[in-house]
């Protein structure tokens, strides 16, 4: 894997990841396209520019850690893993099938390079704090990145973790909220409103950065600002569009957890154009 800060190259990777997402979910006939597509630029920027990691040496002790706390978005992580060379491309079409390394939710029994097995929402930030604390104890430069869903942060444990992160000044962690404004049953504002969200995190003592989660240069700058912030943890509130890149999935609650039909898949692949 070669890392790059080049916008064109990162955008090309993002396109391929999008294509992997819709194709693997199409093949599986089940899965979560919306929240996978909304996080493509975030994961692409992390894995191909920001994070210190080595697919040839996944157990490197001083690597940065990424936790997909919103585990149902596994397809975006699998797409990035394939592009980065962690896992092979051809079994992507076995997603969610028996024996597949591409399990319905990230499963470390099948892909040891995953930092966490996730799928039950609300636990990833605490897990990441533990990893960040271990890194500090070991004087390791490791930084920890945790991707949270906006629906997911309704879980109380997230706010227990938020208190901990600020109190213990855990400045080697970045929480990223994929703020796509939609959860399983509908729009966040109709299920359990989160606003004023930046104020909530600020009130808990976090450095808050709001960013357009599809704007790669803005994400690059935000991650750099986070790294430069000492003495408190950073949360990036990434404004995103659920289903981004596929017109009929965009901002459409239906595609939280529904696979595209054969015709929809063809249309999606055409639109993505990778």
């Amino acid at each position: 894997m070669t890392k790059t800060s080049n916008l064109g190259e990162l955008q090309a990777i993002a396109k391929r990841v999008r294509r992997h997402i819709v194709e693997m979910i199409g093949a599986a006939k089940s899965g979560h396209p919306g929240g996978s597509l909304s996080a493509v630029e975030i994961l692409t920027t992390l894995y191909f520019d920001v994070m210190r990691h080595d697919p040839a040496n996944p157990t490197w002790a001083e690597r940065d850690r990424f936790i997909l706390s919103k585990g149902h978005a596994a397809p975006v992580l699998y797409g990035v893993f394939v592009e980065a060379g962690y896992t092979p491309a051809e079994p992507l079409n076995t997603l969610r099938r028996i024996g597949s390394i591409y399990q319905g939710h990230p499963d470390r029994r099948y892909i040891p390079a995953l930092e966490a097995s996730t799928g039950s929402l609300g636990v990833g930030l605490s897990l990441g704090l533990g990893m960040a604390e271990a890194a500090r104890l070991d004087n390791s430069p490791t930084r920890v990145y945790v991707l949270l869903g906006d629906g997911e942060i309704q879980e109380g444990q997230i706010w227990e973790a938020a208190m901990y992160g600020a109190f213990h000044k855990v400045d080697n962690i970045v929480a990223i909220v994929d703020y796509n404004k939609i959860q399983l049953d509908g729009f966040v504002k109709d299920i359990m409103e989160l606003e004023p969200l930046p104020d909530k995190w600020r009130g808990f003592g976090w450095n808050v950065i709001e960013v357009d989660g599809h704007d790669i240069p803005a994400l690059q700058k935000a991650f750099a600002d986070a790294a430069a912030t000492k003495g408190k943890p950073t949360v990036m509130i990434a404004h995103t569009i659920k289903g981004k890149g596929v017109s009929f999935m965009e901002n459409n609650p239906k595609f939280h957890g529904v696979a595209p039909t054969k015709e929809e898949l063809e249309k999606a692949v055409q639109e993505i154009g990778a």
Partner: protein, 320 residues
């Protein structure tokens, strides 16, 4: 050769859907019925209730522990309160609240866990619930119900609604074969003998009741008379039915979509030991997690079919 023809095993609705429908009926009949949801109403079918009675539907967001305590507050204020989510989430995230706010405080909350067992398929182990019977049964004073089909689910949800105590009801994701007749009467705590047997008895719950019927059919072809009991209530367990099966057939195989070391099987074994000790085998999940796959793939790989259960039965009979 006596092949059982009583059961066609036509596919019915999923038990989660039967639950969603029957609480609408309950809501129509009784303005005291209220429902709480944690962002899974489309999956648990409580969206039907939400549509009909928006004022009596409480959206809690993805916050199961909070939902359980809110439900307990409603239930302790005279409401017939249901809370629902996947079994894996409502029990694991809400366990402390179930213990202290419902079991210990004797508050009659009705908890419905859907997507139980491994038959959910594709979503995989994080959403599969293979320890819920164990957890729910460990809550003092809880009644634990695990219906096999839409018929028993509808009847038992109605019974649970007016049961004076906290109840956990276990529902599944996939369509369930219908094992009961429309005329069947259901009583909490009273097991139902679906097939009479002379040589052995299957005691099963949930989807595996239908698979035990299939196993009984297979064994009938080998000249073995295997009875089938649907033990829809796991707590309080029907001691008389278990003791009679042990006494009359001398061989019991328990089948469940759950860890065998902490589920229905060990509860049945306790009664057998205390009444008429006999040969027993336990069919279900060992103490490990399954994996993603279609429901059929998962149920086949993890040996939850009638043919697999028949193998366990032969093993038990060989020891008799």
């Amino acid at each position: 050769m006596s092949v059982n023809t009583k059961f066609e095993l036509k596919l019915g609705a999923a038990t989660r859907e039967a639950f969603g429908k029957v609480i609408v009926d309950l809501g129509k009949a009784d303005p005291n019925v209220v429902v709480c949801d944690a962002d899974l109403s489309k999956s648990t079918f409580t969206h039907l209730f939400a549509k009909e009675f928006p004022n009596r539907f409480f959206s809690c967001g993805i916050a199961e522990a909070n939902m359980v305590s809110i439900g307990a507050g409603l239930a302790s204020s005279g409401k017939i309160a249901f809370v629902s989510s996947f079994s894996a989430f409502v029990l694991n995230k809400g366990f402390e609240q179930l213990r202290v706010n419902c079991a210990y405080a004797q508050v009659p909350l009705k908890v419905v866990g859907t997507h139980s067992g491994i038959s959910i398929g594709e979503d995989g182990p994080s959403q599969m619930s293979v320890e819920d019977i164990s957890l729910a049964c460990s809550l003092a004073g809880f009644t634990v119900i695990s219906p096999a089909d839409e018929v028993s689910m509808s009847a038992l949800v109605k019974a649970a609604a007016y049961h004076n105590g906290p109840v956990f009801i276990r529902a599944g994701r996939v369509k369930a074969p219908i094992v009961h007749t429309a005329e069947q009467k259901f009583e909490i705590g009273k097991a139902i003998q679906l097939i009479e047997g002379k040589d052995m008895t299957f005691i099963a719950t949930g989807l595996l009741v239908a698979e035990c019927i299939r196993a009984s059919d297979i064994l009938a072809g080998e000249g073995i008379s295997a009875g089938v009991i649907d033990i829809h209530t796991i707590k309080p367990i029907d001691r008389n039915a278990i003791a009679a099966a042990a006494k009359n057939t001398g061989c019991i195989v328990v089948a469940e979509e759950h860890f065998t070391d902490s589920g229905l099987g060990v509860k049945v074994a306790q009664v057998v030991c205390e009444t008429h000790p006999c040969v027993m085998e336990f069919h279900g999940m060992g103490n490990y997690y399954a994996e993603s796959g279609t429901p059929e793939e998962v149920m086949t790989k993890y040996k939850m079919t009638g043919a697999d259960i028949a193998v366990t039965a032969r093993k038990a009979l060989a020891r008799k």
